[in-house]
Amino acid sequence: MNAQGTGSTTARAEVIGNGAFLSIEDLSVEIESQHSARQLLRHVNLHVPQGKVLGLVGESGSGKSLTALAIMGMLPTSPRFLVDGTIRFQGEDLTAATQARLRQLRGSDIALIGQDPMASFNPSMRIGQQISEPLVIHRGWSRRQARHEAIDLLERVGVRQPYEMVDAFPHEFSGGMLQRAAIAMAIGTSPSLILADEPTTALDVSVQDRIIRLLRKLCDEDGLSMLFISHDINVVASIANDLAVMRHGEVLEAGPVRSVLTAPARDYTKELLDAVPEMDGPSLARRRFTPAGELEPRHKREPADLLRVEDLKVQYRLPNSQLFSKRYKLALDGISFDVKQGEILGIVGESGSGKSTTARSVVRLLAPKRGRIMFEGVDLLALSPRRMRRVGTRIQMVFQDPFSSLNPFRTVRRTLDAVLRGQSRQSRKDRDERIEDVLTAVGLGPEFFDRYPHELSGGQRQRLGIARALILQPDVVILDEALSALDVSVQAHVLDLLVRLQAERNLTYLFVSHDLATVKSVCDRVIVMNAGEIVEQGPTAEVFGNPQNSYTRLLLEAIPNAASEMKRLS
């Protein structure tokens, strides 16, 4: 870079008024295929000032990750991506830099922290070696030097027993510890810019909280600048100084976090904010719809137990190729609870707590080792497979990933038709009628009937998933992280739909989720699970308002709610 170039950057930075040292100006990225070109980024302007954190929020497909890749010069080479505009990093235009120069910068001046720590590490290389690799490559350190540094780095990011863990393999780490190691890998060469692409999305809420604090601390201590990308506005608000909102490859608005959150200039930002379920927000349960459409207090009379789970114990056989040995992992250690007619029971917990195992056991997708599941006085676990099939139609399930749980070769209509044909002998006309009814109920119009799953959006797919569960007119619907794979604004719509259907059809829900805010807003009662056991259960208001168990308190404290906080303060 010549002096003039640097000078003009400084001048521009002054115009922005915050001394930006990463400055993306008018960046457009187009993907070129044989017949057409598709614009992925449109005139993006972003500025990360020295020592500050810029949060980048947007839903899937908004172009946030693509922006990070463009900064690193790591856009795929085929199909061809056409880049227009400038990315100034410390005065240097990265869009004009050679691959060799970019490689020099990557891992040395600019570091990336990815979403899924387990996938980001090479499974067959020791952690220490991976952490110190940038030092070996960019600084020419010897292996021994680098290993010592790796131990120091692991200690700094809070990995326990760094002397042992430096020689461990990725699979010997927990998800949270591995993300710490990923951070250690990023900061080893003291980069001046860190790109964090959804660094906490794959983590449990309590772990997420600790990782955010660690990143914040590193930024403060080392004067690092960071581009923090997330779909979760609450997470971003808890770490960023400035905030940019992206949608469809465009930056809708940008500015200091507080001003964007308290006075959003664009409707989309408002929507995003409103869609975030709030811990202190109004409870959906309280503004439930009744069949007549008017509000009335629920549970006029004490309803009966519909489903009672007694002393349920489930163990998994560990994958094993040996002929003479079996090893098991205990997934549920004798849990008991009951579900009343017409209530929404929330089951919360972190990954591995056994909440999905519980859900799957109830529909007998798993064979519990011990226990009873009483449904209207009958033990489901004792039923013959044939009778289970009949009774089972009254308990239906909606899965987390609507795409992989739908047959890609079946249209919407045929997906539902297959369910009906499997269960009853009805004429084609009757079946079509029922299909139309249920699709209308979940908000899918006739134009969707003959589409294949890949022709539906995420939210529409999940509506189909719900329709598939409802078409057999069940009493109980088990929602296993049914909203987790959806974008927040879509989540809100699907959640409204679920609440409305529950009231209209007097359904009973088992609402399995890791998202405490959502659970709080819809559930009547809640079960908190940890390590295969129920640590606390009770009415939602009591459990959340006055948690008795220390684990529950820990979970509640860890929830990022910075955005809601700020909105409330304003």
């Binding site: 990815g114 393999f169 890998m185 560990l318 094993n320 190729s321």
Partner: protein, 306 residues
């Protein structure tokens, strides 16, 4: 560690016991050994006497236990045709087969791994498509045909190499080529696909973000992770070769297990067949144990599971 080895040995013995039982039962089904051994015109008295002498008239379980004792002590009896101890016949044939298997496997790996890696590194390149196409061509060529063509070109027309026989290095060239052709194609395709898949993984992206040069990404990160499927396939191929590349051995007059076994089957030489199947099975079981140990070397996640 000790318990792992003990369990592994126990497993292997179970498999071998199963094979021993199978061989015995097949021997019982194919016909009366006394009739096979005696001349066609032997009298009923000679037959009875022979049966008694050899113990063929005893109950099946008695003979089975005796047979099992033979298997354990590696005593399969004498060949019905040559009168030589079946075990030594088989052991002698095993050496040429093993040598041919080794050279074939080595040649195949030496070609397939570099070619497949280069192709896999560049998913949409000409090199990638060329490798795929050549692989399919070489897989499609039948081994016997490759053997015949090479003999007619290099041995008969050009007179560069011997048509058949076993001995010094130049005897190895044609059978090795004929055998390695298809195996190289299969392996190259597996290497290519495996490397290509690894190149799209997240950890490769991480390595790029660390500024790791492309060459180091392939040699330092990708290759080791890509070797799992390669090991599986080359293990299978090697096991087949150990069992005797029958067609090639017969075609080239290679005095290996395949050649011996075919001869023994044609001559109804049951002890030799039993010995060679048992030996081959033992070798393959041993090979599998070695391959499993190699998985542990490649992938640390496998190590802990045992």
């Amino acid at each position: 560690m000790i318990s792992v080895i003990v369990r592994r040995v126990l497993e292997s013995l179970t498999v071998l016991l199963g094979i021993a039982i199978l061989i015995f039962l097949i021997g019982e089904v194919v016909g009366d050994p006394a009739r096979l051994m005696l001349p066609m015109d032997a009298s009923q008295e000679t037959y009875e006497a022979f049966r008694r002498e050899r113990g063929f008239d005893r109950a099946i379980h008695v003979r089975f236990l005796e047979y099992l004792g033979g298997v354990v002590t590696l005593d399969f009896g004498d060949s019905l045709r040559s009168g030589v101890d079946a075990k030594s016949l088989v052991l002698r044939a095993f050496v040429p087969t093993l040598l041919l298997a080794f050279t074939t496997q080595l040649v195949a790996l030496l070609i397939a791994v570099p070619v497949g890696t280069v192709a896999g590194m560049r998913p949409n390149s000409f090199a990638n498509r060329l490798t795929s196409t050549l692989s399919i061509v070489s897989i499609s060529v039948p081994t016997f045909w490759a053997g015949m063509i090479t003999i007619s070109v290099f041995a008969v027309s050009l007179r560069l190499l011997p048509t058949s026989g076993y001995g010094a290095l130049h005897f190895f060239v044609l059978p090795t080529f004929a055998l390695a052709l298809g195996i190289t194609g299969r392996l190259a395709e597996v290497v290519r696909a495996s490397v290509q898949e690894q190149m799209t993984s997240q950890y490769v992206k991480t390595a790029r973000a660390k500024g790791v040069p492309e060459r180091r990404i392939v040699f330092g990160h990708v290759l080791r992770n890509a070797m799992g499927p390669v090991l599986t396939v080359s293990g299978d191929e090697f096991a087949t070769l150990i069992g005797g590349a029958t067609v090639i051995e017969v075609l080239f007059g290679w005095p290996g297990i395949g050649y011996l076994t075919v001869g023994a089957i044609e001559g109804r030489d049951l002890p030799v067949v039993q010995a060679s199947v048992m030996m081959t099975a033992t070798a393959i079981v041993g090979l599998n144990a070695i391959i499993d140990a190699c998985y542990g070397r490649i992938d640390p996640r496998v190590r802990r599971r045992r």
